[in-house]
């Protein structure tokens, strides 16, 4: 079963790059494909259609703890820019490109989105926990 991790964020905005740090730790994992992006745009909808499952990983200042769960596909918020949210991406992919798999959202709690490189302690802890949780989730996927 194929799985794509979409890591979203800007590594030049400190903790915003935490998803890229998570992706880096899966770089040698043959069970997953990786896609690192600054923001999720509609083209991702075309890409995820080729996979059985997709996990969107992103930093979240409002998350109280690591939060993993299905993408809420009813939460379409009608973007006013060229970027789209994971629910919109999944909806587009199902409607236009035939995506029929599972979609997961992994939100990592972070503290600092200021300009610069490097992760805060909280973001590092979030990343370590996310790698562990994602690893377990991927392990359960049918082969």
């Amino acid at each position: 079963m194929s799985c794509l991790i979409v890591a979203t964020g800007n590594p030049l905005r400190r903790d915003d790059g935490v998803a890229h740090a998570v992706a880096a730790l899966f770089a040698d994992d043959p069970r997953v494909a990786l896609r690192r992006v600054l923001q999720t745009t509609p083209e991702i909808a075309a890409e995820i259609a080729g996979y059985d499952s997709v996990v969107f990983v992103d930093a979240d200042l409002t998350a109280p703890s690591l939060m993993m769960g299905p993408v809420n596909e009813s939460a379409l918020c009608t973007s006013l820019t060229h970027a789209s949210t994971p629910p919109e991406i999944v909806a587009l992919s199902r409607s236009l490109f035939g995506f029929a798999g599972t979609a997961l959202l992994c939100r990592l709690p972070v503290d600092d989105l200021s300009s610069g490189e490097g992760l805060s302690r909280r973001a590092k802890e979030s990343a370590a926990l996310a790698v562990s949780e994602l690893g377990r989730w991927i392990e359960k996927l049918p082969r």
Binding site: L38, T41, P42, E43, A45, A46, E47, L76, T78, S79, L80, T81, H82, S84, E88, A91, L92, S95, L96, F97
Partner: protein, 484 residues
């Protein structure tokens, strides 16, 4: 009592802006302004950096058109080195530029403007977006997404990254283009051309339902400026500057883009962080000119590829003497440019010279000033650098495409407000479809405000506290102008 209607943020554009519409005592539109409310600092913070770093730094000006900044910066670097780059490097740069035109225009047309064009200006705001298109026009939207994906993939394969590719620099490019790249790109082109052709036909079919918008959303005479080949054809990477007026008369021809600062000036307005360039011989604001897809098609005599040439001939018939003044037709011009870009990408892939292994000219610093230019998706882009004896940047001047449309966007906003906004009284709220038309006038230009507000220094910020009777109670002014 006079009133000001504010639309903030302006939606479905790249960046942050607001529009203010001043009504008079009778509720009629008195004036309207497009305010760019963000600012950045690229011209300043690159001072002191080695010029070789500039393409990488400049690519960060924009996430939509980073390739344009990399190319203009690389060309300025070529000039500082005093070299002619190897032909294969030039072909790679052209290839990536066409891919960028294609992906950026796909974003503008399909993601940002198609909700207006295909669902209607008066469609409910909640539906006027990609999700609304998904419900009503799946194949059309799918093709649009695939087009942008195609352009992005060409950039990624050639430049290493979709966003901020740093593969080009002073003297050439850093990586070879290979047959494996070609094998992935080439099969995609028939689908791309088919999708663009379908979009062109779709747009032409709906134009009749936008007659009033075409007439009143930024339809005015102006100059038009673009790069052309020595023969006068469409050219995006290297050529000469040509200007025509609304009557089709050539105002200037054969201008050297490396001397842009001798014929283009930059004015500042208190209400916006974006500067207002103008054609120096006609002064400000009389020297208002437009750039971008509409300007390029107005200025060029021919496209140089078969399918785009056929469309260009038809396009020019929409205007007088081959010059189209209606801002609404930026959309059609954009699609014709996408068609031309796809045709050019195919030509380049079939050019054996693209695959040559000589891609870098080596030299040390030979000049103290370098200028690079190219046609970015939104218009002509100029970078001018000055360095010290060690090659460290002492000054950077970026003249950005979106800023060159500043005056035109203001005119378009004001004309649209006058044309569609009925007199308002009391606390009447304008109809959302009308306000959308005012935003749509801006969207015709596809402004990229991240690009256009690169200047850091004293901000042209003036805050006026005005009484209901029009008396200025307090004026807070930090500066009247930005440094160039």
């Amino acid at each position: 009592m006079s009133r000001t209607i504010v639309i903030q943020p302006v939606s479905r554009i790249e960046g942050h802006a607001k529009i203010s519409i001043q009504l008079d005592e009778g509720g009629q539109v008195e004036s309207a302004k497009f305010h760019v409310t963000e600012f950045r600092g690229f011209e300043k913070f690159c001072e002191g950096r080695p010029f070789q770093e500039m393409p990488g730094l400049m690519s960060r000006v924009c996430g939509i058109c980073p390739v344009s900044h990399v190319l203009a910066s690389s060309k300025a670097g070529d000039m500082l080195l005093g070299v002619e780059i190897p032909p294969a490097a030039g072909k790679q740069r052209r290839l990536v530029n066409y891919a960028q035109i294609l992906q950026s225009h796909a974003l503008s047309f399909f993601y940002l403007s198609s909700p207006d064009l295909m669902l209607g200006m008066d469609a409910p705001a909640a539906n006027r977006n990609l999700m609304g298109l998904m419900e009503t026009d799946r194949d059309f939207l799918r093709r649009g997404i695939r087009l942008r994906q195609f352009g992005q993939r060409v950039i990624e394969l050639t430049g290493g990254k979709r966003i901020h590719p740093g593969w080009s620099g002073p003297g050439g490019v850093h990586t070879r283009f290979t047959a494996e790249h070609r094998a992935e790109i080439l099969p995609w082109i028939p689908e791309a051309i088919e999708s663009i052709t379908i979009a062109i036909e779709r747009l032409k079919r709906v134009l009749d339902s936008f007659r009033r918008e075409i007439e009143h959303m930024g339809n005015f005479p102006s100059l038009f400026l673009a790069t052309v080949s020595p023969e006068g054809g469409l050219e995006y990477y290297e050529g000469l500057i040509r200007m025509v007026d609304a009557s089709g008369d050539v105002v200037a021809e054969g201008l050297d883009p490396r001397q842009f600062f001798t014929y283009l000036g930059e004015a500042s307005e208190a209400y916006s962080f974006m500067k207002a360039p103008f054609y120096l011989p006609l002064g400000y604001p009389g020297g208002c000119y437009r750039v971008g897809p509409l300007a390029r098609l107005n200025v060029a005599r021919f496209a140089g590829t078969p399918m785009a040439d056929r469309e260009l001939v038809e396009f020019k018939q929409r205007g007088k003497a081959g010059v189209v003044c209606e801002s609404f037709h930026y959309h059609l011009a954009r699609l014709i440019e996408m068609l031309h870009s796809a045709e050019r990408i195919r030509e380049l892939l079939e050019d054996a010279g693209l695959y040559d292994e000589n891609i870098q000219a080596k030299a040390s610093l030979n000049r103290r000033e370098g200028v690079g230019s190219c046609e970015a998706p939104r218009g002509t882009l100029f970078h001018r650098y000055q360095v010290d004896k060690d090659g460290l940047m002492t000054k950077a001047d970026l003249l950005i495409a979106t800023a060159q449309n500043h005056q035109a966007m203001n005119l378009a906003v004001e004309q649209t407000a006058r044309g569609f906004l009925a007199p308002l009284s009391g606390n009447d709220t304008p109809d959302s479809g009308i306000l959308n038309r005012i935003e749509a006038a801006i969207r015709c230009y596809d402004p990229c405000l991240s690009c256009s507000t690169h200047a850091l220094g004293q901000l042209p910020l003036v805050i006026e506290v005005v009484s209901a009777g029009g008396e200025v109670l307090r004026r807070i002014a930090r500066a009247e102008s930005c440094p160039a």
